[in-house]
Symmetry: C2
Subunit: 227 residues, 2 copies
């Protein structure tokens, strides 16, 4: 078992392994080998063993892994056995959609509050979640023991909002604003930039090497200036 610092790519794969195991468990399987797992879900068996080895020895030589056992370990490693309270800043379309996004509940997160600056929205409810004045952010965070913040405001406000979040002592932030925010100190920020993803698809559809689509225009690559 190693003690080096663990890459985020590794923990991301742990999430995937856990889902695969849930799948197998639902099908009634009791054990699985790294090879079996790899073949079934298009993974790499050596990598599975390596990833798991960062955290302990969970397998049994000659047998493989006891699925229920490994699920419990991964659940604990990923912290999915502990509840967290989420505050969503920005009660616009995205924010309100996220407020009753079932993915939060599926994981160990529950949405405790929405925040907005718009006086018309404050006091209203989205599902069971109340919209609070952003001015009362720090108090409300304390009151509801919010430890995860979701940024769902326009890009121009994101940096300010992040500052408020970090000032309130929250250490985990998910940012949906289309601007990459950098973590300061021991705060973890996950940027989920849908705009970049969309524009990445747009680029793919438009790029000259995309011969099969009818989108291709000759000389689209020659965007060179001659002045």
């Amino acid at each position: 078992m190693k003690v080096e610092k663990i890459s985020e790519l590794t923990t991301n794969r742990l999430s995937i392994y856990l889902r695969c195991l849930n799948d197998l468990a639902a099908q009634g399987a009791k054990t699985v080998s790294s090879d079996g797992l790899a073949k079934k879900f298009h993974l790499n068996s050596a990598q599975i063993r390596k990833d798991l080895a960062y955290f302990g020895e969970f397998g049994v030589r000659g047998v493989g892994y006891y699925i229920d056992d490994l699920r419990k370990h991964l659940t604990k490693i990923l912290g999915l056995d502990k509840k967290h309270c989420v505050g969503i800043i920005g009660a616009g379309r995205l924010g309100t959609a996220l407020a009753d996004y079932y993915g939060f509940a599926q994981s160990n997160f529950s949405v405790a509050a929405l925040f907005d600056a718009d006086q018309d929205k404050i006091g209203q409810k989205v599902g069971t979640v109340e919209i609070f004045d952003i001015k009362s952010f720090a108090e409300t965070v304390k009151k509801y023991k919010i430890d995860v913040a979701v940024i769902a405001v326009p890009a121009e406000f994101a940096q300010d909002v992040l500052e408020q979040i970090t000032n309130s002592g929250i250490k985990a932030v998910m940012n949906f604003a289309p601007i990459p925010l950098r973590a300061k100190g021991d705060v973890k920020i996950k940027n989920v930039d849908l705009t970049i993803s969309l524009e990445s698809l747009s680029y793919f559809l438009a790029k000259p090497s995309n011969k099969n689509g009818k989108i291709l225009k000759p000389n689209a690559a020659k965007s060179r200036i001659k002045q």
Copy 2:
């Protein structure tokens, strides 16, 4: 100007550059140097120049970049000057939320149709977008000239849905199902796995090295089995 294949990380940065330029343009700036851009938005000037150089010579030595000019070039490179039609498969919470997500409209995408298998939902409308029977997928795609698909169904159906999508000739797919789908042939898939992002935050909050939080339990790392 190079002709090598271009990394997705590069085009992702182009998206970011474009937003920064839009920012500057809104502030009335006319030109900007790679250094100025880098300092203002915490980027790397050498990388900016390198990224842009893949696509042409857009700058003016001794001056920098003419902002409007570069915006036009980036818009064209990213294909943001061409409209695309989006079909969303899965009219659940996420699917319907995405149906009127303003981010689509902000980019060059417009949502043309939702699809679902639930007979109760078919025929209803979400905003201006109608929900169609998934059985009529191929026809509807043709009818509305849909060229981008969004998968917003539970994980267990995602692979089947992807097959239908590729069979219909669509080349660009955004997958929100919590299972990484692999692209076949010349189909581009962007996986947006919110579950992984959430569990990544969960891991961060739970991990033993996170000394400041009160979540820490001694020996949490020693999940080693002795049997």
